[in-house]
């Protein structure tokens, strides 16, 4: 007859409540691990999906995700000419925060290089890729915008034509995909008054110089749009992304481009590494520390629970010893209960997590390997934590039954 099961059965209500409490605690531990995994996953998911082999960014920067980077648009053509590069695109990204219908939307605007990239490779859950090079956008599900919704950004209004899943930055912001031109329009949007003042300033600067006086046409142009004015550069892009031709090595391409004095080139793996070791690493360490602390707290709580359970049973244990139960039976009684409690707690944590985690603001990713590891740790804790109770139980003398 299994004494542990009999005891649990007799105190089913209280045992269930204890397992539930432990389960909630373990759910937090589980969640902590899940947040870390989610962070790693979110952080690299976007750049993985964009599917780029080589990133070319502003010299000495770690852009375009880990820090700000600016390169001229013409860099695209230079990169495209490097042997081994199959295609090169401009890449624009920046984070904006807007209020929309009373909600605060934080979004990472990512420019797709029309017409080579219309967003066909994005994981769409609804809608379609971009079909025109203006005023359409694909948004992540996380932003809560539905198909057909319209959102004013800069001077234009954009319509949601597609919805993706899981496309978020390491900061947890949902991505918005528009064409590169649109992304720049959003990024460099200036109010009419600012544009007017800028043009007036340009004109008065030109008037003070010989060149302006000698070439009236130039003077006239400087008061117009910047594109008509060859002396002004076109707006910058964040980076240039390149895909290498089949058979070519990304490392070799990187080495070639790195020899140029004005930019830095890095492979996809290096970019991934930069994101993981930069912004995410510290959050990860913080989470890891908390998880360790919480695991230790769970261990202590479990030891105390098991110790109290044993204390309550001391009289019964003395009685069992009196009628001749060997230590093995008593050890089994306590340890089996500990394991049942630990595993029940783990089960409760998992089931609760299935309901709770999807409602968390950041992604919580439960990896089977992590779950298995946690289960192992809980099992080990159960066994270790029952040690205190076992130590007490083995010391009780059968005579204590009588001297009560």
């Amino acid at each position: 007859m299994n004494l542990a099961i009999r005891d649990v059965r007799h105190h089913a209500g209280r045992f269930a409540l204890t397992a539930f409490g432990l389960g909630v605690l373990l759910m937090v531990v589980m969640g902590m691990g899940g947040i870390y995994r989610g962070l790693l996953n979110e952080g690299t998911l976007l750049i993985d999906r964009i599917g780029v082999d080589v990133w070319v960014v502003q010299r000495h920067t770690r852009g375009p995700f880990a820090e700000l980077s600016r390169v001229p648009r013409s860099l695209v053509e230079r990169v495209a000419a490097v042997p081994g590069v199959a295609s090169a695109c401009e890449f624009v990204t920046h984070t904006i925060q807007r209020d929309h219908q009373g909600r605060r939307l934080r979004m990472a605007v990512v420019g797709l290089s029309w017409p080579t990239d219309k967003g066909e490779r994005l994981p769409l859950v609804a809608g379609r890729p971009l079909a025109q090079n203006h005023y359409e956008m694909i948004v992540d599900r996380k932003l809560g915008l539905s198909l057909g919704a319209s959102l004013p950004l800069g001077k234009d209004t954009y319509t949601v034509v597609g919805v993706t899943r899981g496309m978020t930055t390491w900061g947890g912001d949902g991505a918005v995909f528009v064409t590169v031109n649109d992304a720049q329009a959003i990024q460099f949007d200036q109010p009419a008054e600012a544009v007017r003042l800028e043009r007036a300033a340009r004109r008065s600067r030109a008037e003070r110089q010989d060149l302006g006086r000698a070439q009236p046409q130039l003077l006239e142009r400087s008061a117009g749009p910047a594109v008509n004015f060859p002396a002004l550069g076109t707006p910058n892009v964040s980076a240039v992304s390149a895909r290498v031709a089949p058979g070519a090595a990304a490392d070799a391409v990187c080495a070639t481009i790195s020899a140029w004095g004005d930019v830095t080139a890095m492979t996809h793996a290096r970019q991934q590494d930069l994101i993981l070791s930069g912004p995410i690493e510290r959050s990860g360490r913080q989470l890891g520390l908390f998880r360790t602390l919480l695991t230790a707290v769970s261990a202590i709580v479990m030891a105390l629970i098991l110790y109290t359970l044993t204390l309550e049973k001391l009289h019964d244990i003395a009685m069992l010893k009196l009628i001749g139960a060997p230590n093995r039976v008593i050890l089994g009684l306590i340890m089996q209960q500990a394991i049942v409690l630990g595993m029940l707690g783990f089960g409760v944590a998992y089931v609760l997590g299935q309901f709770a985690f999807p409602n968390f603001p950041r992604r919580i990713l439960l990896v089977p390997m992590d779950l298995l590891k946690l289960a192992g740790i809980v099992l080990a804790i159960s066994i270790l934590a029952s040690g205190l109770g076992i130590w007490r139980a083995l010391r009780v003398s059968p005579g204590e039954v009588l001297s009560r």
């Binding site: 059965r9 069992l320 009196l322 009628i323 001749g324 060997p326 039976v329 059968p398 039954v401 009588l402």
Partner: protein, 243 residues
């Protein structure tokens, strides 16, 4: 164990002394207590409260080591000497049966399981243990409460279940501390009858602490105890019972 002679007394205690505490708080609970209970014999132990009766039972029951003295159970020295037992718990399980003053059932087991557990610990298969446990409970008229937990049994019912458990393993020595205190006189006699039966059928020695001198006639001999000293009066009917 095989070296013990078959006809050796069930219990042979010689000059057992037990001193609790030390210095100011020293209590001498047993003073050179000597007694013999033969196989097949049912003995009573009388005495006022605090005389040391429970102490004597726990010493004989191998749960309370005496300060001095010698003790043999079924002819086997159990405290010292070359034959001293090392595993007292196994010995208790196989040879001793206990019924004590207070409730001594395991609260998370049903009445039947309480009896069963003693047998299963001794290696009985579950089915057989259950059947025999039910027989015992039947005999003690608590079979209808077999699946109740101790807390929902009356004091007398609990006591009878405890008796059933003590006798389940057919012990050589039965130690009972006021087993009939919670019972009416008919059931009290029934329990005594059961002790007689175990003594007669299994050749067990039974030692019963009692305050009930109406039932003294069922005992083969009566020990009296006072202040830790055990005496054997010549005539049991003259025994004085202090309340």
């Amino acid at each position: 164990m095989s070296s013990a002679p078959k006809d050796a007394p069930a219990v042979q205690a010689h000059d057992l002394t037990k001193i609790y505490g030390s210095g100011n708080t020293e209590v001498v609970a047993l003073r050179e207590a000597t007694l013999t209970i033969h196989r097949g014999e049912v003995a009573a132990l009388l005495g006022p409260s605090g005389a040391g009766k429970t102490t004597l039972l726990t010493v004989i029951g191998l749960v309370n080591p005496p300060t001095a003295g010698r003790l043999s159970i079924a002819g086997q020295p159990v405290l010292d000497g070359p034959d001293a037992l090392t595993n007292l718990r196994t010995f208790r399980r196989q040879r001793l049966g206990f019924v004590f003053q207070q409730s001594n059932l395991i609260p998370f087991l049903t009445a039947c399981e309480n009896v069963q557990v003693a047998m299963e610990l001794d290696g009985w298969p579950r089915r057989a243990a259950r059947r025999r446990a039910m027989d015992q409970l039947e005999y003690l008229e608590v079979a209808d409460r077999a699946d109740f937990y101790p807390t929902s049994l009356s004091g007398g019912q609990q006591q009878r279940v405890a008796v059933a458990r003590a006798l389940a393993n057919e012990p050589t020595v039965v130690l009972a501390d006021e087993p009939t205190a919670a019972l009416d006189s008919r059931r009290g006699r029934q329990v005594m009858g059961l002790f007689r039966k175990v003594a007669h059928d299994n050749g067990a020695g039974v030692l019963v602490v009692t305050h009930d001198h109406r039932a003294l006639d069922v005992f083969d001999k009566t020990y009296e105890m006072e202040d830790g000293v055990v005496r054997l009066p010549a005539d049991p009917t003259t025994a004085t019972v202090a309340r």
